[in-house]
């Protein structure tokens, strides 16, 4: 059970003066039951990469396999693909269209031919993870606030319970409260369903808090892939390709430079606080 990309290349408009290499020689493997973050500078190919994984963008060459199911083979089973992977694009609330929240949530499930009871159950599960309430079901999606619409759009994808859930910048444009809500919901969903979440993000702080594994893209190539700690301990390389490390990690590195004997990373404010307290307690009792 995993996602496998073998030698994937993608060139837009090949053979014309507008041709552009979006992805080059991508070889990667994503194992199940974790949260994977895809980071990279603007134009590095992040969005393209996750669309390829979601079966929505055919690569120019190479293979994409999901649990041994080859996505882009001729006559591959589209329905099976849709059950396996779900995707939420940037600003997913721009894709809402149904008359009621309930219909919006049920859309994907009905396309999958699920029974009314199943739909009922799945919708409520998804609502639980996205703080949507029963009284919203009969309302029009367009009456909701911006943050609620975002949660609704994501819920409609979660409701389909895909094995692989892909989200392109799910917190883009949200205020801190909205961001925390979405990320907490995604984390809870992943912990309970033990499925795989892949998210594209620009916030190193969000990534540090949530991700188990990180894929770093630069200029269409996979620069590095590894656990969150591994990747963020290579701060200099990240900065070379226009990325940053989380602020707390930055602080740890700066303190180490001053001779502090502490780990070279901290993923959250709490972690940094603990490390500093422990160090100061040791050194200045």
């Amino acid at each position: 059970m995993s996602i496998l990309l073998e030698d994937v290349h993608l060139t837009y408009s090949p053979g014309t003066p507008f041709s552009a290499d979006a992805l080059r020689e991508i070889n990667l493997k994503i194992t199940p039951n974790q949260i994977v973050a895809v980071i990279g500078h603007t134009g590095s190919g992040k969005s393209t990469l996750v669309q390829v994984m979601a079966g929505l963008q055919r690569p120019s060459s190479g293979r994409v396999l999901m649990d041994d199911f080859e996505l882009y083979k001729k006559n591959s089973d589209r329905r099976l693909l849709r059950r396996k992977v779900g995707m939420a694009f940037q600003y997913p609330e721009h894709q809402l269209f149904e008359e009621t929240v309930e219909k919006e949530l049920s859309f994907g499930l009905q396309k999958q031919g699920r029974s009314i009871d199943e739909v009922h159950l799945q919708i409520r599960k998804a609502m639980g993870f996205t703080q949507l309430t029963e009284d919203m079901l009969g309302r029009s999606p367009f009456e909701l606030s911006g943050g609620q619409m975002r949660r609704l759009a994501i819920a409609s994808v979660i409701a389909m319970e895909p094995d692989y859930l892909i989200l392109d910048e799910p917190t883009a444009g949200l205020d801190p409260a909205g961001r925390d809500e979405i990320l907490a919901g995604l984390q809870a969903w992943q912990r309970e369903t033990k499925k795989t979440v892949i998210l594209v993000s620009h916030s190193m702080e969000d990534v540090a808090k949530l991700a188990d594994q990180i894929l770093v893209l630069a200029n269409g190539k996979l620069l590095m892939s590894g656990s969150t700690r591994e990747v963020f301990s290579r701060g200099a390389e990240l900065q070379e390709v226009g990325l940053d490390v989380p602020q707390m990690t930055s602080l740890m590195l700066a303190l180490r430079n001053k001779g502090w004997d502490i780990p070279p990373y901290a993923m959250t404010v709490e972690e940094a606080y603990q490390v500093i307290c422990e160090y100061l307690g040791r050194v200045r009792p």
Binding site: T16, L56, R82, V85, G86, H94, Q95, L96, K111, F142
Partner: protein
């Protein structure tokens, strides 16, 4: 996104040529004159002249012939269809070929070729207009030509503004449609199954968000335009003013001459296709 690249009508091809530098108002009028001349051309010499004119304009525009030909590809099937239609339905001249109910007269072939040529010339010349004129110059030119009609209530400036905004947002909306289609596909929406009604309904997940987005954009844009002191066409100036020059007058005169020749040939019947038969 790829569909944007193959279509040459509406695209602009930047180059430093006489044609590019011509005043948009004159170019628009010249297109009209050419089209009128084209419909009056009635024989091989006339068509020959029209073709020579078109080719010389293309050469002067410094746009590679290959590019123009590539732009003709989408309409090739219409040309072919026209050719076949006229070939098999016209009964002029001598019988050339027959097979059961199908008869082909050389007059029909001639007519088919003529119609096909007309289409090709029409598309090429109108493509040339957009290829050599920036969208803003084009809308400015239209606005200027329509200004006299303001007296009878035609909103020339507003029409031009609408055209500019539409042209500006077409690529943006296409990108958005692309994204929406992918997003709904990811939720299992299918746009290829079912009969006419089912397919119509399946377009809702794309059309509703697209329309809502378009309205939202319009709202935002109106506010932004107001914030930048837009209040319609009154007392508004333009950074790029259309300036006519010698080459524009030469252009119009040469086309008027062409038109006159066509008219003469037509009405004097000095040049006609039937002479070939």
């Amino acid at each position: 996104m790829n569909m944007l690249k193959g279509v040459t009508i509406g695209q602009h091809y930047p180059a430093d040529s006489v044609i590019h530098k011509m005043d948009a108002r004159f170019k628009i009028v010249m297109i009209l004159l050419y089209v009128i001349a084209l419909f009056m051309a009635a024989g091989p010499i006339s068509y020959g002249l029209m073709i020579v004119f078109a080719i010389s304009v293309i050469i002067c525009s410094k746009i590679p012939l290959k590019f123009i030909i590539r732009g003709l590809r989408p309409i090739l099937w219409i040309v072919g269809f026209t050719l076949i239609l006229h070939t098999f339905s016209t009964q002029e001249g001598d019988l050339v070929w027959q097979w059961s109910r199908f008869s082909v007269y050389n007059g029909g072939i001639l007519r088919g070729v003529m119609m096909g040529l007309r289409l090709i010339l029409l598309i090429s010349i109108t493509s040339l207009l957009t290829l050599t004129t920036t969208p803003i110059d084009l809308t400015d030119g239209l606005e200027a030509l329509l200004k006299p009609f303001k007296k009878i209530g035609l909103p020339a400036h507003e029409l031009a503004m609408m055209m500019t905004i539409a042209l500006r947002f077409v690529p943006t909306l296409i990108e958005e449609a692309d994204k929406i289609i992918k997003a709904q596909t990811a939720r299992g929406a299918d746009f290829e199954e079912g009969g006419l009604i089912a397919r119509g309904k399946s377009m809702l997940p794309i059309l509703v968000p697209l329309f809502i987005s378009a309205f939202r954009r319009a709202d935002d844009l109106a506010m932004a335009m107001e914030a930048r002191c837009y209040r319609g066409g009154e007392n508004r100036t333009k950074m790029k003013e259309l300036k006519s020059g010698v080459r524009d007058y030469l252009g119009v005169i040469s086309l008027s001459l062409l038109m006159a020749i066509m008219m003469y040939f037509r009405f004097s019947k000095l040049d006609s296709w039937t002479a070939l038969l």
